[in-house]
């Protein structure tokens, strides 16, 4: 389309502009010529009249007479006619003096028109003045114009045709390759990197084609490298390693390197082995094997060149190929010669190229030696492989580190379990002292009442002999009471032992209906006596305000007991600490209050110790947080208590504290 419009414009230009210009020139020339004729004739006439040679006039006219373009030539006399009124105004009167051909009527004021050109030239002699009026036919001009038009038309046609031909030729040479380029670029854009455009011309379009082909090639190489990177870096373990050879094989094909064997050698200097990944001539992985540095001559050369960072080239004939193959077969890395050769016969000649990268060498084997640019492509592939392989190794070491961390975490978890157990044991230790006292008392009573009862029996016998009925009755009543007391204190001792056993139990246990009031009372005493046993100077007042309407609720009694023991111990610890400050009139006091709530039971443990500073408040339920001197507290008491109340019972453990006033822990257990 563009071509057509350019040609059209050019043709129209030729068709209209040139003829118009030509015609104007022709007309001008014709005018000038006739004017010159007129002047010449006028000069001749002037000379003839001046010499009064009338034949001369004829001769002058003869100058144009023979010209066949002449229509007429006329000698016109001009007379000055003065006005009658004055001597100033006048007119010029013109009269035809002589005309050739005579037959022509001459208009003295004649003008040019399309058919003829009229030119005049004035002359003046003393005898007469006048002018020569010359009229020439334009027939010839018109004819010339016609010819010019014809010529320009044919020229236009020629130009048009030539233009079209040139246009189509150009289109063939520019548009077609450009369109092909466009289609190819489109396909490349869609991801087809096998595109190339044919370009045999040496012009700019040809260069463009070459540049395009190079770009696609580069892109294809980049895509190949990217694929190598993604596959290798995506490897996660040993089981992924066999992917290496097929990937290298595939991408060597993609980047267009001629080859029939390939492989990767990862060099491990520490172990002095080459981890080898080789392919058969049909792209199959030969498997992975470790080649010691000294296993074959080529291994040593491979390592030397790798250390020097040089491309290592080697040529093998059939004999050398077979020697290598048999070494590999002896080492058990190749199962059958058929597989390795890829044919019954071994190759006659093999060119081996080893291109170094960070971790080893990339091997490409081919019938022909590779050109430098092909080796460049192999190098690029090797470098991409190196980056990806490094990432894979990073991942492996990361994985190792992760495994280590996991093991450490496991250990930590088991340590934590042990710590929780030791926290239980620690509180058991605290309990033991309390228990010793608590158990000793009832046992003493059991013994004492038993002994006194033996005495009472004797007394009873005496009184009976004396017939002292009143005393007999009294003693009998005492005996009965004593037996009840023995029973009571026996129970008391056994319940303490049972509590102790439950406390040291490690399993979760089951929820049982429990009297919270009794539990609170029991543990308050245990805690108190435990502390007393440890610290003789310790003393504090404690009270239990029980709500008798408190229902029995299902709880993990040993767990809840531990919570109470923890909280009460803390309370006693706080008041004891405060007492040591020597504040005037300070009476250490711990109060445990139970209360029935709507569908819940509340236990409040209040002390008048030093309170918890606000900045520590948020930490008190954290595991291992303790304000006690090292070795005295595990820092697990409150955190375990919190877990037992919230997770174990779906309850709530809150704290209300004020520095210098005291602390109150509030346990709410759902019914």
């Amino acid at each position: 389309m563009t071509v057509l419009s350019v040609v059209m414009m050019f043709a129209l230009f030729i068709l209209f502009y040139f003829p118009a210009r030509q015609e104007r020139l022709l007309l001008e020339n014709y005018n000038n010529e006739i004017e010159n004729f007129a002047k010449t004739v006028a000069l001749g006439v002037k000379i003839a009249i001046t010499e009064q040679n009338f034949e001369g006039v004829e001769t002058a006219i003869d100058f144009v007479r023979e010209d066949d373009r002449l229509q007429f030539v006329s000698l016109i006399q001009s007379d000055t006619i003065w006005a009658e009124a004055n001597d100033i105004d006048y007119t010029i009167g013109k009269t035809v003096f002589k005309t050739f051909p005579d037959s022509v009527e001459v208009d003295t004021e004649g003008h040019s028109d399309d058919n003829h050109i009229v030119k005049s030239a004035a002359f003046s002699t003393p005898m007469m003045s006048g002018e020569i009026l010359l009229s020439f036919s334009t027939e010839e001009i018109v004819e010339s114009k016609r010819q010019i038009r014809m010529a320009s038309l044919s020229a236009t046609l020629v130009v048009f045709v030539i233009g079209l031909l040139i246009g189509f030729w150009l289109a063939g040479n520019i548009s077609k390759p450009v369109l092909a380029l466009r289609d190819a670029a489109h396909k490349v854009g869609e991801g087809d990197l096998t595109q190339s455009v044919s370009s045999n011309s040496k012009d700019e379009v040809g260069e463009l084609g070459l540049a395009f082909n190079k770009m696609v090639k580069d892109l294809s190489v980049k895509a190949s490298l990217e694929r190598v990177r993604s596959v290798i870096a995506g490897m996660r373990g040993k089981e992924d390693l066999p992917q290496i050879t097929p990937v290298i094989w595939q991408e060597l094909i993609s980047v267009g390197v001629p080859f029939n064997r390939c492989g990767v050698f990862i060099i491990d200097e520490k172990e002095a082995v080459i981890e080898s990944y080789l392919s058969t001539p049909d792209g199959q992985s030969l498997g992975i094997f470790n080649l010691p540095f000294g296993a074959h001559e080529i291994a040593g050369k491979l390592v030397d060149n790798w250390q020097a960072g040089k491309i290592y080239y080697e040529h093998w004939n059939k004999k050398e190929f077979l020697e290598w193959m048999h070494t590999m077969m002896d080492l058990g890395h190749i199962e059958s010669s058929r597989t390795y050769q890829g044919d019954i016969k071994p190759p006659e000649s093999l060119n081996l190229h080893f291109v170094p990268f960070d971790q080893g060498m990339l091997y490409v084997g081919n019938d022909e030696q590779l050109a430098d640019d092909e080796l460049g492509l192999v190098k690029a592939l090797a470098d991409a492989f190196a980056i990806a392989y490094a990432r894979y190794e990073d991942f492996k070491s990361l994985e190792k580190a992760k495994n280590k961390t996991e093991i450490a975490l496991e250990e930590l978890k088991s340590t934590q379990t042990q710590l929780i157990q030791s926290e239980k044991m620690a509180s058991l230790g605290e309990l033991t002292a309390g228990i010793a006292h608590e158990i000793q008392n009832p046992l003493n009573f059991v013994n004492n009442f038993a002994e006194v009862s033996v005495d009472l029996i004797e007394e009873l016998n005496e009184e009976m002999e004396n017939n002292n009925t009143e005393d007999v009755e009294a003693i009998k009543e005492d005996l009965k009471q004593n037996l009840i007391k023995i029973n009571h204190h026996g129970h008391r001792a056994s319940s303490i032992v049972k509590g102790m056993l439950e406390h040291s139990r490690t399993d979760a246990g089951a929820k049982v209906l429990t009297d919270i009031n009794a539990l609170a009372d029991e543990y308050l005493r245990l805690a108190y006596h435990g502390l007393r046993a440890k610290d003789k100077s310790f003393n504090a007042d404690f009270t239990v305000n029980t709500d008798d309407s408190l229902p029995k609720i299902n709880v993990l009694s040993q767990d809840l007991g531990r919570v109470m023991l923890n909280l009460i111990n803390n309370a006693f610890y706080a008041v004891a600490k405060r007492a040591k400050e020597g504040i005037e009139g300070y009476k250490p006091n711990v109060v445990v209050t139970t209360k029935k709530l709507d569908k819940a039971v509340e236990i409040r443990l209040k002390d008048n110790g030093g309170g918890i500073p606000e900045k520590l408040l948020e930490k008190i339920f954290q595991p291992f947080f303790t304000t006690k001197p090292t070795g005295e507290g595990t820092g697990l008491g409150l955190s375990l208590s919190y877990d037992i109340i919230t997770k174990g019972h779906g309850g709530d453990l809150k704290v209300d504290t004020e520095e210098g006033v005291g602390t109150e822990f509030i346990i709410v257990l759902p019914e």
């Binding site: 010793a436 006292h437 000793q440 008392n441 003493n444 009573f445 013994n447 004492n448 009442f449 006194v452 005495d455 009472l456 007394e459 005492d478 009471q481 004593n482 007391k485 204190h489 108190y528 006596h529 007393r532 046993a533 003789k536 003393n539 504090a540 007042d541 404690f542």
Partner: protein, 124 residues
């Protein structure tokens, strides 16, 4: 002579009463019981002008036996009451502390009532 027994264990009372049943009946021993240090002080005020032997437990909520001992020894000079400490914790710490505070005797539980009786008779 009044014998004031101070112990937070309530069953101490019937135990003493039964153990010394004959002595009580014969008027040889006169027991008064207090269940805490504070209660013991009140009793002492009540029997201010009588000679009193005090048998006190050490481990009690509120005022402990040792505090009671200290208070008595500081406050009551004439006649100086005899204070005997009775405790389940027969350890050196408690013993030393009690002696330091002027305890007249230190008896560990379980109590040997016959020996205790002799001690009381000796004192009175």
């Amino acid at each position: 002579m009044k014998i004031l027994v101070v112990d937070d264990e309530l069953d101490i009372q019937p135990l003493f009463q039964q153990r010394y049943r004959k002595e009580i009946r014969r008027g040889e021993m006169d027991f008064v019981f207090a269940h805490s240090g504070e209660e013991a002080i009140e009793c002492l005020e009540k029997y201010e002008h009588e000679a009193v032997i005090i048998l006190s437990d050490i481990n009690m909520p509120g005022m402990s036996g040792l505090e009671l001992l200290e208070t008595i020894k500081l406050k009551y000079h004439k006649p100086p009451p005899v204070v005997m400490m009775i405790t389940a914790y027969g350890d050196a710490d408690n013993y030393n502390k009690a002696m330091e505070l002027g305890a007249d005797d230190f008896i560990t539980k379980p109590v040997d009532f016959i020996a205790l009786k002799e001690k009381i008779i000796t004192i009175s």
